[in-house]
Symmetry: C2
Subunit: 310 residues, 2 copies
């Protein structure tokens, strides 16, 4: 696809989508996984964790999209260095099947990537619309006919069990997500501690439904803001110490920190709405769209992954 | 992507989406075009017309999706024969850059492909939802990072000007469509004649808006049915004999017979909703979704292409 020059007859590729299996034993069936990461900043912890994933790397394609900003350029340089190290000089078993890196062709909507700035409520709609478009660009240009699973993994997820893909696929759900936490120093207790991070995994509430019904068509509901109490049941708070890691709950909204999706869900048309879709946007809108297509999302409250702490 | 075996270091592909131009002089800028065709039946006229397109074939990738039915199998066999003829034995200038053929992994919703049967009103919603999913599967698995334009071309469009792609791209619109007609024998006039075919290209009306407002969320508006008069302005009837072929009108709904889309519209997330989206579905829903993303559709009433007459 990089040159019009031909050597021999041009390629004709035939795919029977029926032969692409999507099962709860993906390693045994040698199913292809596409790991997609929108990346504004590079974290070494993300890359190190990625390398430790025990799903056969020769079945994994990586896809990245990075903004065309100063920060994005810096992240690109670091990512590129790590890729070369792994793909060229690393042990055979570490190397991924292929890697696609996209540079975004639109401007980021807010100037700063700092946690406080990006979580301000008035910044959420343009920010999440831009994120949705970045995810869609990445998805539409990298999903292939032989992909079985798509793992969405944010660039600041720095710690997961190495069996993440196998463990999530084991549930055989169209859309499934673990619980994303954050390690921090608890000054009161004077020791390291952890707290829930991703509030976009939730079960709907009558209050949220009522709020949505009174909104104008373009308005969106946001989760995790005091000014907008939705009384949704958040998976973040369903974690039980010592609980079964395979305990599963149904979800109406999902986040994108770590999200395993059967490729057929995307192929049917489920994408990340960059506009208000049932008053939801981006990953939360994606869960709703998947539902409209007949696919139900699930979550694992006791299965933890960790977000970087800035 | 067909084998895990490696020879040399695995591929790393880097794409700057900013460098993929989408201009009104696509030949000069050597822009890649992806022609996508959902195909239930094979028509020789479609293939012959495709071969005659003067857009440089080495810049064109073809993508097909065919149902896994007896009819689909027959169409696949005929398509395959023509592809081999062109790609292996045809003149160099006829050969396309690459060809991807998908076989659908879900059942067609209605048993027959006959025109009378498929146009029955009660068959429309399941039929068009299935068509939408077929289009999405095709789109999500074939769109690449270097694609500039997507031309949707139905398998029963058997006659277009050879300069179709250049002529449509010349308008530099995010979504643009010609007027799809049908040749037939006019028994009254005792001679060949032609009539409008595609009624999905329209401008919205207050009546249709009102009808939509009174519908339940899952209901869809259909065009071209007497029981459901929408009073939309149909591009089919805007044709003027001898009129400028480049005369352009804005559209709110589009059909899929021949439809040129800037790849960025799809990359932003615009797909074919297989569910009621603002009471629209499939290609008409696509136009609405593109609009929600800020992209406006246009039509060329005097620029004709022709649909097969069964
Ligand atoms: N390509 C791209 N990625 C982004 C952009 N903004 C954030 N990201 C990435 O998208 C993911 C989610 O964003 P983040 O800011 O961490 O969301 P939060 O953790 O919910 O505050 C992370 O992997 C970011 O690195 C952007 O403008 N473009
Ligand atoms: N893959 C696939 N293509 C289909 C199916 N049904 C129709 N098509 C194709 O989709 C396009 C539009 O369908 P068609 O029946 O011609 O629509 P109409 O002309 O509006 O009645 C044509 O190219 C058909 O060959 C289907 O079930 N699967
Ligand atoms: Mn984050
Ligand atoms: Mn047709």
């Amino acid at each position: 696809s990089t040159s019009g020059a031909k050597t021999g007859p041009p390629p004709v590729l035939r795919y029977n989508l029926n032969n692409v299996t999507i099962t709860n034993t993906p390693v045994k069936n040698r199913e292809s996984v596409l790991i997609l990461t929108p990346m504004a900043r590079f974290y070494q912890g993300y890359w190190d964790n990625l390398l430790k994933l025990s799903y056969p790397h020769e079945l994994i394609t990586l896809g990245f999209i990075l903004p065309k900003t100063k920060e994005g350029n810096a992240a690109y340089a670091e990512l590129d260095k790590q890729i070369t190290k792994t793909q060229k000089f690393g042990p055979e078993k570490d190397r991924f099947r292929s890697i696609i890196i996209l540079r975004q062709d639109f401007d980021p909507p807010i100037p700063s990537q700092d946690e406080a700035e990006r979580h301000k409520m008035q910044n959420q709609k343009p920010r999440r619309a831009a994120m949705a478009k970045a995810r869609n660009s990445l998805l539409f240009t990298t999903l292939g006919p032989s992909t079985s699973w798509v793992l969405w993994l944010d660039a600041d997820v720095i710690e997961t069990p190495p069996t993440l893909i196998q463990d999530l696929a084991f549930h055989n759900k169209p859309v499934i997500t673990p619980n994303c936490f954050q390690r921090y120093y608890n000054a009161e207790k004077k020791r390291m501690d952890e707290r829930p991070y991703d509030f976009n995994n939730w079960q709907d509430s009558p209050t949220a439904q009522k709020m949505a019904a009174q909104m104008s068509p373009d308005d969106i509901l946001l989760e995790g803001y005091q000014d907008m109490a939705t009384y949704r049941a958040l998976m973040a708070y369903m974690y039980e110490e010592g609980g079964d890691i395979h305990y599963e709950v149904p979800l109406d909204g999902v986040g994108g920190t770590a999200l395993l999706v059967k490729a057929d869900v995307h192929r049917d048309g489920a994408m990340f709405p960059p506009f208000s879709f049932y008053h939801l946007i981006e990953t939360e809108g994606f869960a709703k769209m998947a539902r409209r297509l007949g696919w139900h999302a699930a979550g694992l409250p006791n299965y933890k992954v960790y977000h970087y702490n800035e």
